[in-house]
Symmetry: C2
Subunit: 432 residues, 2 copies
């Protein structure tokens, strides 16, 4: 009797330990997934965790894009941002599972007629066993598919299926949260971008201006090696720097002739109006400086700018960056009756004002921006006409080199350098 | 030997079962909290779950508001939205824990000098034992405090402390996610509201217009009993219905004299420009109809409206609601050289157009809006001067009654009704 009892107890201990391990895994993954609200990062983390937990070689999460009726997934490419792959929502094993809601545990993929060996062929990977399971949300709608490949020690078991099923419930909620968050970020961004473009479009002189200033500012922030949070802050400040112009009558703002003193004073009030408008908007802690950066884009380091006549360090660094990007765009924009000023002349004007209007650190860093990137920004209204390979070549040359070549004269250049300079001029002068 | 072994095994089973129960609780709460991304609802759920898990009478989550250096909490009041209580971040037991990061397990609150019996006095509640623990995020910063009151079977144990500690880690992440989401929603909302107000403020005739139209539309949607998602959609559409005016030169838009045919045609293009602008904005699935609703606010049910001459059911119902709210605000707005039109006259004009310009369902429902609410919206630029008790009285009367009384003449009214009518007129005619 005692020994039977003991065997029962041992069995009970074994069961409890197993259940314990299972619960620990689920709790771990729930906490781990909960920590990531950005969709791309969440998916990558999810795939890594699940492959590890199921002792599998790979795991992919495919999400259902209802509007396009496609499944898509993110691929870690050693890049900062993941790349997407997409295919029709009824294709392959994943498509089958997304359509039917069945769980497929396939011990040998090549023996299953639904398996599409195309991807293996392309990638050189060899799929053996696969476990594919629908991802369902709270409402039991299928929102995607989990696909786990090549378990290290043989085919997937019934226990693996149960574990993955429990994980997929947790994963589905985490994905839906991340999607809700992303939707909200997307709405905010698209609204600001649309508004910024619409405001600029009121006048042909400013059409595309805020967008270009934003891109120059971001290029400058890359040259300066600024971090991601600062980039975001600069992006919003740049897109919105001229929003204060909404407070100035168009009859003054777009006046063709000479402005009276009163009118000029009115125009000069726009950064202050920008500040007032942006101060009414709720910005997240990380974006707290957006109003000040945007409001100081006409300040000068020598204190002779407006609206507040701030000096050097009194001007937020972002405001000093914006100031340069703003002037650079103004000087290189095409107007109705004239072409772009020659780059040498533009840069002379900027260097002359380095240390008075502009922070020299910004001027120096601006010269480090790849010439290809400058052209892409400058010519973005004709983006479709740029020849990719040519722009790529120009990406290898910083703006500084172009300026140097122009100063030294083309005759002293190597054939390669001359070719690059001609390429730059072709786009700069719009001969394409 | 055997029996000792058996005792060990029994003890092992007991431990494992206990650990299992603990893990199950944690997994349950992780999944449950993960499901709620709205901060208010999340906090209420969290407090309920934790009180239940710890067999306690109550649980409160206090969050730290760093900017104001306050702790705040939400109180379920049987209301849809929770109410907040706030106090300085160093006050009471919760404040002590928020400052020091200590865990306080107090068996008898009234014997602890840090306990503030004020709240008990006010509420009639009797605090006995309390367990108070800091909520820390991933970076180990204190973001708030968990406070659990009155365990049903005696004081809180060491095990309760450990369990609450594990829960608080999960809770902190859930709270931070909800805060991130809420921040994003707040940013989007404040941006749209600020923009809408700024656009209207360009001209004294339209100052405050979009905001009032939004409030009338929401009042109308309450009268019609529409759901929360539809309300949200209507809110955005109403705030943005005139954004297309950005595409029309101010010289035409604000022209004082008579418009030429071309100018009039230009003005009439503004709902189409609204559509084009809003179509560029990414709206969440639930808000998908915002552009169409906003773009149809000048359509008429008889098909004689613009820009598309849509008829009856071709016009989204939201567009028909906006149309009425828009005209009602125009007719009841004060202009520089004249007072508000008498309400009888305003309503005659609207009834005359019911079935041609307006959907009769909207006209009928509009009359059900409480008169107090109408006054609040109409007079919102003087909100601080409204006398609360008077407005409350007017909340008991639908607009329909006021119209009826005005038609029948004041002499036939009971003294109470006459008083209400006079109250309404006082605000309507701005004699206050």
């Amino acid at each position: 009797m005692t020994s039977v009892n003991q065997i029962d107890l041992l069995e009970r201990v074994r069961q409890l330990e197993e259940e314990n391990a299972r619960l620990q895994v689920l709790l771990h993954i729930a906490q781990s997934l909960q920590e990531e609200l950005e969709l791309d990062k969440l998916l990558l983390k999810m795939m890594e965790e699940v492959a590890h937990i199921l002792h599998a070689d790979r795991c992919t999460v495919f999400l259902l894009d209802e509007e396009k009726n496609e499944l898509w997934s993110i691929v870690a490419m050693g890049l900062k941002k993941g790349q997407q792959i997409r295919f029709p929502a009824n294709k392959g094993i994943a498509g089958y599972v997304a359509q039917t809601g069945e769980v497929l545990n396939i011990p040998d993929a090549y023996k299953d007629p639904r398996f599409n060996p195309e991807i293996d062929k392309k990638t050189g990977y060899r799929t053996r066993c696969m476990l594919t399971m629908p991802l369902r949300n709270k409402m039991h709608d299928i929102i995607g598919v989990f696909q786990v490949l090549n378990k290290k020690d043989g085919p997937f078991t019934r226990e693996d299926e149960e574990l993955l099923d429990a994980i997929s419930q947790i994963a589905a909620t985490a994905i839906e949260n991340a999607q809700l968050y992303e939707d909200q970020v997307k709405s905010f961004n698209s609204f600001i971008e649309t508004l910024s473009t619409t405001l600029d479009a009121r006048d042909y002189i400013t059409a595309g201006h805020s967008r270009r200033v934003t891109l120059y500012t971001l290029a400058l922030s890359d040259a300066l090696g600024l971090d991601e949070d600062t980039r975001e802050e600069l992006r919003y400040a740049a897109l919105l720097h001229d929003i204060g112009k909404l407070g100035i009558p168009e009859s003054v703002l777009f006046k063709a002739g000479k402005l009276t003193d009163e009118e000029y004073a009115l125009i000069k009030s726009h950064p202050q109006i920008t500040r007032e408008i942006l101060n009414k908007i709720y910005f997240h802690k990380k974006l707290r400086n957006v109003p000040e950066i945007a409001a100081t884009h006409h300040e000068r380091v020598d204190g002779k700018g407006y609206p507040d006549g701030l000096k050097n360090g009194e001007i937020p660094f972002g405001g000093r960056m914006l100031c340069l990007a703003d002037v650079f765009d103004a000087l290189t924009s095409r107007r109705q009756y004239r072409d772009r000023e020659p780059l040498e002349k533009v840069w002379q004007l900027i260097e002359k004002d380095s240390g008075t209007a502009f922070d020299p650190k910004c001027v120096e860093a601006f010269k480090m921006i790849p010439a290809g990137r400058i052209i892409e920004i400058m010519e973005q209204d004709r983006a479709q006409d740029l020849i990719e390979e040519e722009i790529e070549k120009l990406y290898a040359v910083p703006l500084e080199k172009i300026l140097e070549w122009k100063t030294n004269g083309a005759s002293n250049l190597s054939p390669e350098d001359r070719e690059l300079l001609e390429l730059f001029d072709k786009y700069y002068e719009r001969r394409y």
